[in-house]
């Protein structure tokens, strides 16, 4: 039976898959830029050892055997870039879109940790380290205003994103969610469970879906109300099967590490700042690590592009 279905499925795939134009001319310039970012990060000499054992799972990650940095690495280009090591003396090819400076969020205590009327966007910078390569991505998300993301400090890669409210819409049960933000863990759980019950194909995935959505709320950062993020944290820590342990992230920031096991067998590790209820660092069991730094800002560096109504699913 599977053979017949597989045969017809492959026929269907071969008919359906469109020709995807790949802009290969951008690859080598992007690679060179990423190499500079990686080396800049390594130059700062971050050591992060998360030698924490939680629920029988040990997580130790180490980059370079150098002293712990007390400040986060500056990994984005500044308006007046300083020379960075590169193995190529050649200038960057001119085929690239001009890279407007993307300011790195200030993770110091003075950085605005919540959006305001004057600073309605949450700028979240994610530094991903995997297989010895560091990449960066940036998102600018507002509650209701057009939002966007970029990768590798390249404004040419700008993609539209859902607003924070649309993100919540996609998580909350349509009956329970009336646009009012839940402010306690029990109400939040009710809303997330209703959604998961309606759309989870596998009942076993319900609980992990609820927990992953609670974690996603923490990851959204200061664009969501602090009371909602606190509710998400309390939902997580009150759940069976979630372990919580003190930990320090790769930038030396203190927090609590939560370990979630997803329904597909993967595990997700996140270190959460429990003062502001925001994710500082996360890791799946694919050995890549995300380091997050966020702050409230007035807006993104360019006007966000419009959302493509035909995009069926994506990041």
């Amino acid at each position: 039976m599977d053979d017949d279905f597989l045969s017809s499925l492959n026929d269907r795939v071969n008919r359906a898959v469109p020709t995807v134009p790949v802009h290969t001319e951008r690859v080598i310039p992007r690679a060179r830029r990423r190499r500079r970012v990686t080396r800049a990060a390594q130059t700062v000499g971050v050591v992060a050892v998360l030698g924490v054992v939680a629920g029988g799972v040990g997580w130790a990650w180490q980059d370079q055997p150098r002293p712990v940095a007390t400040q986060p690495p500056t990994v984005s280009p500044s308006p007046t870039p300083s020379p960075t090591p590169t193995d190529s003396p050649l200038p960057e090819p001119s085929t690239e879109a001009p890279a407007a400076p993307v300011e790195t969020p200030d993770s110091s205590a003075s950085a605005p940790t919540e959006v305001t009327d004057a600073l309605p966007y949450w700028h979240l910078r994610t530094e991903t380290r995997a297989d010895g390569v560091t990449s960066v991505s940036d998102t600018w998300v507002a509650m209701d205003q057009p939002s966007m993301s970029t990768v590798d400090d390249d404004l040419g890669t700008a993609q539209p994103m859902q607003t924070a409210r649309q993100t919540l819409d996609s998580m909350m049960g349509v009956i329970a969610w009336d646009g009012q933000f839940p402010e306690d863990a029990a109400t939040l759980r009710t809303m997330l469970e209703e959604d998961a019950s309606a759309y989870a194909l596998n009942p076993d995935a319900l609980e992990s879906t609820v927990l992953l959505h609670a974690l996603a709320i923490l990851r959204e950062g200061g664009v969501l109300p602090a009371s909602l993020r606190q509710a998400a944290w309390e939902l997580l820590t009150a759940s069976d099967g979630v372990t919580v342990t003190p930990a320090t992230d790769a930038l030396g920031r203190s927090g609590q590490m939560v370990v979630l096991d997803a329904d597909d067998g993967s595990s997700r590790y996140s270190i959460v700042d429990v003062t502001h209820y925001q994710v500082l660092q996360s890791r799946w069991d694919d050995l890549s690590i995300d380091i997050l730094t966020g702050e409230a800002v007035a807006g993104p560096p360019i006007t966000p592009p419009a959302i493509d109504p035909q995009a069926p699913y994506g990041e």
């Binding site: 279905f5 290969t24 993609q159 859902q162 996609s170």
Partner: protein
């Protein structure tokens, strides 16, 4: 033909070339197959372009290591492990009725357009790991061992994940077909 049939060896055994020239030849040959895999993983041409670029960037950065083995496999493995979260748009893809979808203005083949929509909808019902496994195992044509190696999971997990994923796809694409358990 599936992606597994591609041969990259002539690129690497051709006339001596500097790294960028050699890698550019590799990209030219490999990118169509990678783009097909990427589209199946994400269901969108723009995002597929971006995913392939990201995979090629990482391959370029590790080119000396990648070219020693099978560079296409290296790039594909990188592509398959890129982070593709699906939860953000889940509500929309589930709630959108096919009749509400806009027509593909540049696609004159309505049957193909219908197949494409149906396929993306069906793939969207899978978890990220299920989609990765079923794409690599059945649409790219890798062996179970190769899929396991690419994704860093056991062969047993590949088997069970692929089985559940196919059952889900069949339920969505072929609801009148045999029920799960007939395998």
């Amino acid at each position: 033909m599936n992606d597994h049939d591609l041969t990259i060896d002539p690129i690497l055994s051709g006339p001596p070339a500097d790294k960028d020239t050699e890698f550019t030849r590799f990209m030219t040959t490999a990118s169509p197959a990678l783009a097909r895999t990427a589209w199946l993983l994400c269901g969108d041409t723009h995002q597929a372009d971006e995913l392939v670029q990201q995979a090629l960037v990482r391959t370029y950065l590790s080119w000396s290591r990648a070219r020693e083995g099978d560079p296409l496999a290296y790039a594909r493995r990188t592509l398959a492990n890129l982070r593709i979260d699906t939860w953000r748009r889940r509500r929309r893809e589930v709630l959108t009725d096919p009749i509400d979808l806009p027509e593909h203005g540049d696609d004159r083949d309505s049957a193909r357009s219908h197949d494409r929509d149906a396929l993306t909808r069906a793939l969207a019902t899978l978890t990220t790991r299920q989609r990765r496994v079923v794409v690599l195992r059945h649409f790219v044509g890798l062996s179970e061992r190769e899929v396991a190696d690419d994704l860093g999971i056991s062969v047993g997990t590949v088997k069970s994940t692929a089985s559940r994923a196919l059952a889900t796809l069949r339920a969505v694409l072929d609801p009148a077909g045999p029920v799960d358990g007939d395998r």
